[in-house]
Amino acid sequence: MPINYYIILAIALFSIGVAGVLTRRNAIIIFMCIELMLNAVNLLLVAFSKMHYGVAVTGIPETTAGVEAQLFVFFIMVVAAAEVSVGLAIIVMMYRNIHSVDVNFLNRLKH
């Protein structure tokens, strides 16, 4: 499987996420688009890890190349989970204050 397929798939997912962040005004959907962008990057990291393994395995059959990239993906997922919990708490607080999740109403920091 050529690596270009996976790169272009990840680029497409990332661009859809960017377009969603720019077009939608609902804070929760913007947040979900950010999650989509994080997942596109994760997919690209795993694909590069397997490419690195495929290059290294021709020289050394017992290689463990590519393990680090998959651990980075694991840590990205950990950070994303922490980010979601704080971000959703911020969105709930914002809904409690202005009774909407529309980011157009958030153009000033103080109400």
Partner: protein, 167 residues
């Protein structure tokens, strides 16, 4: 076209279609459900790449925990009705054009890169299995693993403090 390529194209179509539906559906609950479809497609890609540990973690953490959290918040706020004001049409068109331009630039840069076209990835190998990953995680990366637990604790405290009522 063998079974791997058929699976690859099926999962790719599922991921791209699901993400487009996620961005363009009016109801936020439908957006969450389409995003779950996208996460399952990406987990399928991980299984295809022989990264079983990440596939299972992706399903458990993203499709299981995070998306349930999103659904709870949406239902708590009673947002299932479409109440997003459709104000500026040109702003939306500009956003779609900006995303498309980003994709165009990146794809053309990738397609013109020398030496990348003949690179392939191996779908076999045991690097994605739990045995290898766990051994590396608990020997070389044990300090970042422990620090991430502190990060989780601080995120939990932060979420409780932010979500608390003021008065």
């Amino acid at each position: 076209m063998n079974i791997t390529e058929i699976l690859f194209w099926f999962l790719t179509a599922l991921a791209l279609g699901g993400s487009l539906m996620m961005v363009f559906s009016k109801n936020p609950v439908y957006s969450v459900l389409w995003l779950i479809v996208v996460f399952f497609a990406i987990s399928g890609h991980y299984i295809l790449l022989n990264a079983q540990f990440l596939a299972i973690v992706n399903i458990i953490v993203y499709a299981g925990a995070i998306m349930v959290l999103f659904l709870f918040v949406i239902m708590l706020m009673n947002l299932n009705a479409d109440n997003e004001p459709q104000k500026n049409k040109w702003l939306k068109i500009a956003g779609v054009i900006a995303g498309g331009c980003l994709m165009l630039v990146l794809v053309s840069a990738i397609l013109r890169t020398e030496g990348l076209k003949e690179q392939t990835l191996s779908l076999s190998g045991s690097t994605g299995l739990i045995k290898q990953l766990g051994k590396t995680l608990f020997t070389d990366y044990v300090l970042p693993f422990e620090i991430s637990s502190v990060l989780f604790l601080s995120a939990m405290v932060g979420a409780v403090v932010i979500g608390k009522k003021e008065d």
